[in-house]
Symmetry: C2
Subunit: 452 residues, 2 copies
């Protein structure tokens, strides 16, 4: 009789694992996927672009539908929520959309329950009209609300990646858009002076940016629907509120089952994606903690690329493989209008806060040779250990073509290269692509005299 793998959650990590395992094991493994929504294998990162109109609809964001997965022999059960796990008996209790209860036994279990948008703990936070954007259903609900409510005024709460992308999406739809955040500048994963450039770019698009304002509550109308955000003592009228203040691992199910969580509330897993101390239980994607190789600490990073890699690793190992997810270095990229932002590793301020004996240098260069048409300004900041010069982090802010260059720094962090190594690298040069000194290498040069 075939073994059974039960996967809880049918997005990136869950379906990558299910597909990898099924492809390898064939008939020797029954693979059952429990997915509470009607969607599988979708790009939640694409939701802001769908809202903006860059993408036609949710179907475009789906890599593989439930019927497509079923055709490959995976028993995908949509609209089914896992409500409890019994680790002792190896059983998952489920509830269908019509309320029907059921259960399914497993030999191996993979938790891929994802993350959920943080809701501020203030009055009105659950009012209709306050939307997160984590699943395709969230996207559908938000767009339905926009259509049905004739919304004109949007307040985005939170100036991180999702907040920025959603604010841009809303202003591009012609909505009156305000972004509210507690921090000094948007994008706290950048140093504040670089985040300021994002604020200026957002303001240039017509977004009202309110920084240093804590959300105190949400006003509602007689019908209980949101009508304003109260933040920093002021009231911002809102027909729609978008939450972008981060996500938390969705781990209540794991927690109830007695699975250990880390400080970030994510499931703590081994590099194999196995849950520590449980041979038959695995986890991956936005519900787990990851090891940050630069910070040398566990952290929570919700990102589709990690989820896909982790799902693949879990799927390999569930079927007898020997793969590892080797951690992250904190790379991320986004853009506001034409201004691109890339970052990896530690910022200057994070390195200082962590007490690392570090130095930083910031240079202004251009994306192409300065004389070449389309050359755009590009700023690079590198942070490195003062002794020995090992790279600790990089930030790039600039025009089209700037941000993805962060990958050189991400690769250098991975390989523990020094700024001296960075200066030596043989990076691609031609006038349409780069100045003769690549901007990343110019920044490394500027750091050389400060490291010993």
């Amino acid at each position: 009789m075939a073994e059974r793998l039960v996967v809880v959650g049918g997005d990136a990590a869950g379906m990558s694992a299910a597909s990898t395992a099924k492809r390898r094991a064939g008939d020797a493994l029954d693979v059952v996927v429990l997915e509470r929504t009607g969607w599988t294998s979708y790009s939640a990162c694409g939701i802001p672009y769908w809202v903006a109109g860059d993408v036609s609809g949710p179907d475009a964001l789906v890599v593989r539908t439930p019927p497509e997965h079923r055709k490959r022999g995976i028993d995908v059960r949509t609209g089914v929520t896992a409500t409890a796990i019994d680790l002792g008996t190896g059983n998952v209790t489920t509830r269908a959309e019509d309320g029907t209860g059921d259960s399914v036994g497993y030999d191996q279990l993979l938790l891929a329950t994802g993350a959920k948008p943080t809701r501020p703990d203030v009055p009105g936070a659950d009012a209709p009209g306050v939307h997160g954007v984590q699943t395709l259903d969230d996207g559908c609900r938000l767009l339905d609300w926009l259509g049905a409510s004739d919304a004109r005024r949007v307040v985005v709460v939170g100036g991180g990646y999702i907040g920025l992308e959603m604010a841009e999406a809303c202003v591009r739809r012609g909505l009156d858009t305000t972004l509210v955040d507690l921090a000094e500048e948007p994008m706290r994963t950048l140093d504040a002076d670089l985040g300021r450039r994002l604020r200026v770019a957002m303001e240039g698009m017509g977004i009202t940016v309110v920084m240093g304002a804590a959300v105190e509550g949400f006003d509602t109308d007689d019908g209980g629907r949101v009508r304003a955000v109260i933040a920093g003592g002021s009231t911002y009228a809102a027909d729609l509120v978008v939450l972008g203040i981060g996500v938390r691992p969705r781990t209540a199910l794991a927690d109830s089952a007695g699975i250990a969580l880390g400080d970030s509330h994510g499931v703590r897993v081994e590099p194999s994606m196995r849950v520590s101390g449980r041979d038959e239980v695995w986890a991956g994607g936005d519900c787990v903690e990851v090891w940050d190789r630069v910070a040398a600490a566990y952290t929570h990073v919700a990102l589709g690329t990690h989820a896909n890699k982790q799902g693949r690793v879990a799927g390999l190992n569930i079927t007898g493989g020997d793969a590892v997810f080797a951690g992250v270095v904190g790379t991320a990229v986004t853009k506001v209008c034409e201004l691109e932002i890339g970052r990896t590793g530690l910022t200057r301020s994070a390195a200082e806060s962590a007490g690392r004996d570090s130095v930083s240098a910031t240079i202004d260069s251009t994306t192409r040779a300065g004389y070449f048409p389309g050359a755009e300004p590009m700023t690079v900041r590198l942070t490195a250990e003062r002794r020995g010069g090992r790279l600790l982090g990089a930030q790039i802010v600039g025009g089209p073509g700037a941000a993805k260059r962060i990958d050189v720094c991400a690769t250098a962090l991975w390989a523990e290269l020094t700024v001296s190594d960075l200066v030596d690298l043989d990076l691609a040069y031609a006038p349409p692509f780069s100045p003769v000194w690549d901007p990343v290498q110019s920044a490394a040069r500027a750091l050389l005299s400060d490291v010993h």
Copy 2:
């Protein structure tokens, strides 16, 4: 009394060294630069874009003029050709443009004489109308010729970087353009099947591409001016011929002085850029050999980015520094119309020819998430050692945004990463920038099962 550094050649390597040395040593070092043209510190790589009309004129390609260098205390002597070096007495014999001879003594000597376009050894190769493009003066002469001769038909000989860029420049000027090359496909630094895509792109722009045709001679008119290229038994009418069959180190001066050259005819230097066995003689830029870290061999690569780095290293070491030029991995990038090409390390065919026990994988992906507007096709080929999986090389061909991603592979080659490391890297992901599996990582994944 101050020591004197004499630099022969005032472009990238020469002026980087002169500037670095002067900045460090100040009045303790007289720096004399002998430059046979009237230009210093220019981007020869920009000439094709000047010809195409992307760049307004030669001045735009000059980073720093002779007067600007002089203001910084460097004695730049333009229109002065070094004709002989006496290593015994430490003396350089010179000839000015008016024929006047002179000489200048040195304590330290830097050779930065550059490279010159290879001319095929066939009748008519020196005829008026046959142009190389290595110096700004070459560019001026070519454009003067175009203006004065009312040229309509151009034949570009050679399908490497310069040949491709010049062919595109000419067709964009509205000229009837033919490219002739001996090889099977353009760009021999790529595997032929990838080079074929360049040919198709060039043909799509209206360039006539003739491959597999050896140049047998140049026909001239009664005035001795070129009027046709004879290649592969056919005759191609030409009002202008552009040579793009590579360059050779310009080392006759060094050779006459008794300085040792390598197999590529470039000056053989130590990583410090010092000429082996001569404490006071240095060399850098297109006239030297470089160490290829992947091929583990000396080679000749004429590229401004290397010249700048080498000049900096020489300038540091001439003034008591301890810097090294650590070699190259063979990274290069260019584009034909909207088709971008990046390459680094060994191609599949080069690895096979070299007898390396290697494996390759090729994948088709997109520059952005497939659903994102502006996503363009992008092909990645990786080559790695079969045992252990160490990366040996990468080639990328694709739409806008594809080619500069080669830098991840260049960095990985530098750090001697394996394809397994490549799969693990934390590269930047967001839908406007990349599919959720970065194309380079998709290619690495495809290779994993072939390496052991």
